[in-house]
Amino acid sequence: MDQNMKRLLTAALGLVLLIVPLLLPLDGLSPAGRITFGLFLFAAVYWMFSPIPIYATSVLVILFQLALLSNASPLVEFFAFPYATADAPSADKFTGTLAHPILILFLGGFMLAAGAQKYHLEKNLVRVFLSPCKSPKLLLIGVLGVCALLSAFMSNTATTAMMFAVLIPVLGALELDDPLRISLALSVPIGANIGGIITPIGTPPNAVALGALAEQGIRVSFASWMAIGTPLAIVSLVFVTFILLKMFPPKAKRIELNMTGKFDRSTRGIMLYIVGGSTIVLWATESIHQIPSSVIAFLPIALLPALGIVGTNEIRGISWEVLWLVAGGISLGYSLKDSGLATWMIGLVNWTSLGDTGVIVGFLFLSILMANFLSHTVTTSLLVPIAISLGTSGVLAGPGSLAVVAIGIAIASSYGMSLPISTPPNAIAISSGAVETSQMAKVGAVMAVFGFIIITALAIFVWPLLLK
């Protein structure tokens, strides 16, 4: 089918689904719930098939909420919704998602990344990490490790782009049939994807989960997230090192990596290291000082421009559309609960027969499966609100379980990495020409199975202890 035709059809399908729940006899579902149901179906189709960019869908969702569900809309009264205009959620609730504390936390991370990039901090870290790596094995471990470390704070995509810029001369110097080319090219996106789970700001799906939990009054500290993400990331990196060495045993004996450069010692460079270092330390020690991580994020947001470390160019270069994308997910999740849709949906299925464990296993499986084909953020945005609804309606026992399943979904989505379309780092790796889709798919499938097993085990046996 022609591309334009497909776009038109999916666009039309989404709009039709927006209206369908209003027309069907859905017993016990309020008009607001029906509108939200339609909105959820609309968002699902638009996010999955993207007839328009996924961030555009997100802000469209917010617009629909403002127009159909908020107290600022004349339509709310017109349709005689069960609540009067005065009882409908305030419009600020929806517009405010664009400045949700979790997004402020992300903005802080973006500002740090922008500063680091401007002063070539990340490249120097790569140089320091990789220069001792003279053997193929060490280089592979070094690349996996440094990609994970950087992507814990920077976007996975930016990490991958930078790392390939460094590695392409190395790949070019290797013999064409050396399997090390394949393992190195795969280690970059895998390291970056796994690194995203280490901190709350590692990758946008984390923000979706944390945002939804915050709406339930559950605050997960930066350090608690790291206590969950770090061990899992380390185990995964060790596992993937073995897999890559086993599947693609390197032929080259020594690797020459010619990286030059030195750390920026200018006053501004040093101030950047101080602001960045203090921010990260304060994030990691939230349990001691009790200052929320989103408040601490304001340190880099305010100080880096004040000190002239980032300017208008860097501020304009920030991925604002990622923040919009996450805001749409949080906003949709809010209506799901507020409109009564969640409670109604849950009543349809006998969840208690599944039990907590069954629910967690099911969501983790769906998350990894969907994330192989969809954007990880979209996967999380669609699954977390449903999971949260289960929790609030009493199917999952206690706030601990709620956090376990929401965080589990976000982390599991990062293990969806078997196809070039799974996530932008994979697309970059395939474009490098050093690895083929079938090779990526094999390693990705192994990682998905590994991820599913280990995340399930941790989520059931270990995380409940960490998230009390």
Binding site: A165, S319, E321
Partner: protein
């Protein structure tokens, strides 16, 4: 990544058939990712531009000889620079006979990007083409991923990191 339907075009303008086929042969590494169109006169080149415009294929690079029967290569480059649709195309003269006046005109009015003196070495030509096409992608903010393996990948990737070109994770 190989693409069966290249989305960007290269025009090679040269009146000597033997020289033209040498240019095209030297550009073989680019032919999977770019549509390479050899033409022998400016009249033919203009027709090609019309066809490309109809198919919505932007012109990324024009490699032109100067001395041609009828309209000169330099005049053609000036025309490219004056038209909205082709202004971003990288413009390269590949010639032995352009005098000072023509060269100055090509630079000032045609926005010439590079000058290759005949005879050329194939690897030099390829280096210039690779560099110019890389610049084209960067200037026009074209998604660089389909072209990474044939162009200057480190330069494209660094720009990608700087501009956060794709961030939907």
């Amino acid at each position: 990544m190989k693409s069966n339907h290249p989305h960007l075009a290269i025009i090679c303008l040269e009146d000597e058939p033997a020289v033209l086929s040498a240019v095209v042969r030297d550009l073989a590494p680019f032919e999977d990712a770019f549509q390479i169109v050899p033409v022998e006169s400016v009249t033919d080149a203009r027709k090609v531009l019309t066809t490309l415009a109809e198919k919505h294929i932007p012109l990324a690079l024009a490699l032109c000889d100067h001395l041609l029967p009828g309209v000169s290569g330099t005049e053609f480059l000036v025309e490219l620079n004056q038209s909205e649709a082709t202004r971003a195309a990288r413009k390269v003269l590949i010639t032995a006979q352009a005098g000072l006046n023509d060269t100055v005109k090509a630079i000032n009015e045609g926005n010439l990007n590079h000058y290759i003196a005949k005879p050329w070495l194939p690897e030099d030509l390829r280096a210039v083409v690779r560099d110019q096409l890389t610049s084209y992608l960067l200037v026009t903010k074209t998604n660089p991923l389909p072209y990474l393996s044939v162009l200057d990948a480190p330069r494209l990737l660094e720009a990608m990191q700087r501009n956060n070109l794709t961030t939907d994770e």
